[in-house]
C-alpha cells in the first residue's frame, strides 16, 4: 500500500501548489515545458511528449462535456477523427494549408457536435452515454467503408505537413511548440469558461438539472454549448494529429481511444483543469515507463488503473485537495477584483 509519509508529503506539496497564484503556477509549468525539448536526450522523448500534449487537449475537451456538464460521452474520439480526416482529405484533395483547414475543421466538428448533440440530448443518463458510444462507432465504421473518401481501413498516407512563415514543420521538436500552443489555448479556454456564467451553468447542470432549470439555465442550449466547445477542441487537435502523423486510419479512432481519454479525465480528477492534464500525462507516460517490462506492461497498466481508482476514487486532484476547499472568488477568477 501507499506509504503514509509519502502521501502526506505529496499532499503538503500539493497544498503549497494550490495556494500559489494561478498565473504564476501556469507560468512555471510553461517555462518547464519550453525547456523540455532542449533537455530531452532524443527526439523520441519529444515525440512522446507531443503525444501527451495531444491527449491533454483531448481530455480537456472531454472535461468540458464530462467534467463540467456531467455528461458521459463515450464517443468523444469521433470529433478527433472528424478533425483528422477533414485535414487529411482537404489537404490532399484540395491542397489547402494547415491554417486554412484549422478553422474549417473547427466548423465541421462543431456542426457535427450540434447534430449529434441535438439528437442525443433527448436521452438521459446511461442512455445518453450509449448513444454517444454508438455515434463514435458509426464514425469509425464510416471511415472504414467510405473508401472513396477515406481510403478505407488502409488509411490516408502522405498527408502534407504544415508551414508557418516559410518555416516547415518536420521533426518532433519543431511540432513540439505548436502542440504546446494548442495545450496553452485549451487550458486558457477552460479557465475562461469555468469562471463565467457558461461554466457555472454547466456545473449547475451536472449537479442538479431541475435546480439549474429553475435558476434560468436552458438545459438544451448549454449542453449543446458544452458539446460544441468540446468537439471543437477535439477536432482542432485532430487536425494537428493528422499533420503530425502524416497518416490517418480508422484504427486510431476506436472505442478504446474514447474510453482512454475518459480514463484520463477521471483519473486526473473531473471538473478541474489540472486533473485532465495530469491524467493525460499519467496515462501516456506510464506505459512508456513500463517499457522495460515490455510484455507485461499493458497487464500492469490495467491493474494499476483498478488500483488508482480504489485508492483515489475522486481522481488525483480530489486525492490531494484538502476536504474543505477554501478557495476564494479572487483565486477562482482573478479578474473580479482587478480594476480596469
Amino acid at each position: 500500500m501507499m506509504d503514509i509519509r509519502f502521501r502526506r508529503r505529496v499532499k503538503a506539496a500539493a497544498r503549497r501548489w494550490n495556494n500559489m497564484d494561478m498565473r504564476l503556477k501556469w507560468g512555471i509549468l510553461l517555462v518547464i515545458a519550453c525547456v523540455y525539448p532542449f533537455l530531452a536526450s532524443s527526439q523520441y522523448y519529444v515525440h512522446i511528449m507531443n503525444l501527451a500534449f495531444i491527449y491533454i487537449v483531448l481530455s480537456l475537451g472531454l472535461n468540458i462535456v464530462c467534467g463540467l456538464a456531467g455528461l458521459l460521452d463515450l464517443g468523444f474520439i469521433a470529433f478527433y477523427a472528424v478533425g483528422a480526416y477533414t485535414y487529411a482529405i482537404l489537404s490532399i484533395k484540395l491542397g489547402l494549408s494547415f491554417w486554412e483547414i484549422l478553422p474549417i475543421a473547427c466548423v465541421t466538428t462543431a456542426l457535427f457536435g450540434l447534430l449529434v448533440g441535438s439528437a442525443a440530448f433527448r436521452l438521459r443518463g446511461d442512455y445518453f452515454a450509449i448513444v454517444t458510444m454508438g455515434y463514435g462507432e458509426i464514425i469509425r465504421i464510416l471511415a472504414n467503408n467510405l473508401t472513396f473518401l477515406t481510403n478505407g481501413p488502409i488509411g490516408i498516407i502522405g498527408i502534407p505537413r504544415p508551414n508557418a512563415f516559410g518555416f516547415k514543420f518536420e521533426d518532433p521538436s519543431q511540432y513540439y511548440f505548436l502542440a504546446l500552443a494548442f495545450v496553452a489555448l485549451a487550458i486558457f479556454l477552460t479557465y475562461r469558461f469555468q469562471a463565467s456564467r457558461i461554466g457555472r451553468a454547466l456545473e449547475a447542470i451536472r449537479e442538479d438539472e431541475i435546480a439549474a432549470v429553475s435558476m434560468g439555465v436552458n438545459l438544451k442550449n448549454f449542453k449543446l454549448i458544452s458539446f460544441i466547445i468540446g468537439a471543437m477542441l477535439g477536432g482542432s487537435i485532430g487536425v494537428f494529429f493528422a499533420s503530425y502523423a502524416t497518416f490517418v486510419s480508422p484504427e486510431s479512432f476506436s472505442f478504446m481511444e474514447s474510453v482512454m481519454v475518459l480514463a484520463m479525465v477521471v483519473i486526473g480528477g473531473m471538473g478541474t483543469i489540472e486533473g485532465p492534464v495530469i491524467g493525460a500525462l499519467i496515462l501516456v507516460l506510464l506505459p512508456e515507463a513500463l517499457r522495460s517490462v515490455s510484455d507485461y506492461r499493458m497487464l500492469i497498466f490495467g491493474a494499476l488503473m483498478v488500483f488508482m481508482m480504489i485508492v483515489m476514487p475522486k481522481g488525483f486532484m480530489g486525492w490531494i485537495k484538502p476536504r474543505r476547499i477554501l478557495r476564494t472568488a479572487e483565486e477562482e477568477n482573478p479578474l473580479v477584483n482587478r480594476d480596469f
Binding site: 458521459l72 458509426i138 475518459l262 480514463a263
Partner: protein
C-alpha cells in the same frame, strides 16, 4: 448469433439491474469463458480422455467446466474491482476500474493463450438441412436450443426461487433489502457469477460456431451484447433476450440484403433509431424525475 448476444446481454442487464453499473469487463469475461472451454478440451486431449468419453458428454462437461471457472472469475472481478468502490457516488469511477480490469484480462489472455487465433475443436459433425434458401446446421440448432433452455432456467430462477426474489429485492433498493435481512453482498456476488457463467456458455458456443477463440474477441461481442441489452431496455431480463434476438436478426438481414461491410453499423444505427423513438429501450419503463 442472436441467441449468443442475448446470453451475454443477460449478464450486462443483471449487473446493471442490481448495481446500475455497466460492467465493462463483461466482454472479457465472455472471452475468458471461451478459453476456459478450450482449456478443458486440451486437458481432455492430453489425458487421452477425448477418445473415451462420448462426444455429447464431453461437450456437456466442457460447458460445465467453463461456466464454473468463469463464475469464479466473475466473482473475483466483482470482489477486486467493484466492491471497494461500492460507496462511491460518482458512477464513472467503477466504470474506469472496470476498464482497467478489462485491459488486464485481455492482456492476461494474450500472454497465456497467445495473440493469434486458437483453433476450437470441430467436435460437431458438419451436418445440416436445407430449408428454403437457408442452410440450417446442427450446431445452429444446438446453440439455439441451449440458449433458450438457459433463458428459461434463468427466468424460473429469478421468478420462482427465494434467491431470485432476493435478487429482485436488491435490484429495487439494496439499502432496504439489506434491512430486510438479505445479504446484499452475497446476492451481488451470485449475480456476477450467474451473469459470468452465462457469458461463458456463450463463449464456448461462439468458439464452437466459428471454430476459433482469440484474446480480443470479447471487445466487439461485448459491445454488441451491450447494445442488445440497451435495445431491450437495460436492467430488464426479457428485454435483454428480445434485444439479443433482434440484434442478431437485424444484423444478418442487413448483411444479407444491403451490404456486409456495414454489418456492424446496422447494430448501432438500429440502436440509435430505437433509442430516439423509445428512450428507455423496447421493454423499459419511463422513470419520471422527482421534484
Amino acid at each position: 448469433m442472436g441467441a449468443v448476444y442475448a446470453l451475454i446481454a443477460l449478464g450486462y442487464t443483471m449487473v446493471y439491474g442490481i448495481l446500475e453499473l455497466i460492467n465493462f469487463a463483461h466482454g472479457e469475461i465472455f472471452m475468458m469463458g471461451s478459453f476456459f472451454g478450450l482449456l478443458f478440451w486440451w486437458i481432455l486431449e492430453m489425458t487421452g480422455l477425448s477418445k473415451v468419453i462420448p462426444i455429447p458428454l464431453a461437450i456437456f462437461l466442457m460447458f460445465v467446466f467453463s461456466m464454473i471457472a468463469t463464475a469464479f472469475l466473475g466473482a473475483l472481478l466483482e470482489f477486486i474491482a467493484y466492491r471497494p468502490l461500492r460507496s462511491v457516488t460518482n458512477r464513472l469511477i467503477p466504470l474506469i476500474s472496470a476498464l482497467g480490469a478489462s485491459i488486464f484480462l485481455q492482456n492476461f489472455a494474450m500472454l497465456t493463450f497467445g495473440s493469434t487465433n486458437r483453433v476450437y475443436p470441430a467436435i460437431f459433425p458438419d451436418f445440416g438441412w436445407n430449408l428454403f434458401h437457408a442452410r440450417i446446421s446442427l450446431i445452429q440448432i444446438f446453440i439455439f436450443v441451449t440458449c433458450i433452455l438457459m433463458m428459461i432456467g434463468l427466468t424460473l430462477l429469478v421468478h420462482k426461487t427465494k434467491l431470485g426474489r432476493s435478487m429482485r429485492a436488491v435490484s429495487q433498493d439494496y439499502v432496504t433489502a439489506s434491512l430486510m435481512g438479505i445479504r446484499v453482498n452475497r446476492i451481488i456476488t451470485i449475480t456476477f457469477m450467474i451473469g459470468s457463467s452465462l457469458a461463458a456458455a456463450a463463449g464456448v458456443m461462439y468458439g464452437m460456431y466459428y471454430g476459433v477463440a482469440k484474446f480480443d474477441m470479447g471487445y466487439l461481442a461485448g459491445l454488441k451484447a451491450f447494445t442488445a441489452a440497451v435495445l431491450g431496455g437495460i436492467g430488464n431480463i426479457p428485454g435483454a433476450m428480445l434485444g439479443g434476438f433482434c440484434l442478431g436478426i437485424i444484423e444478418s438481414f442487413g448483411a444479407g440484403y444491403i451490404s456486409s461491410e456495414y454489418k456492424d453499423m446496422f447494430a448501432f444505427l438500429m440502436l440509435l433509431f430505437i433509442l430516439l423513438l423509445r428512450p428507455s429501450g423496447l421493454l423499459g419503463q419511463q422513470v419520471p424525475d422527482k421534484v
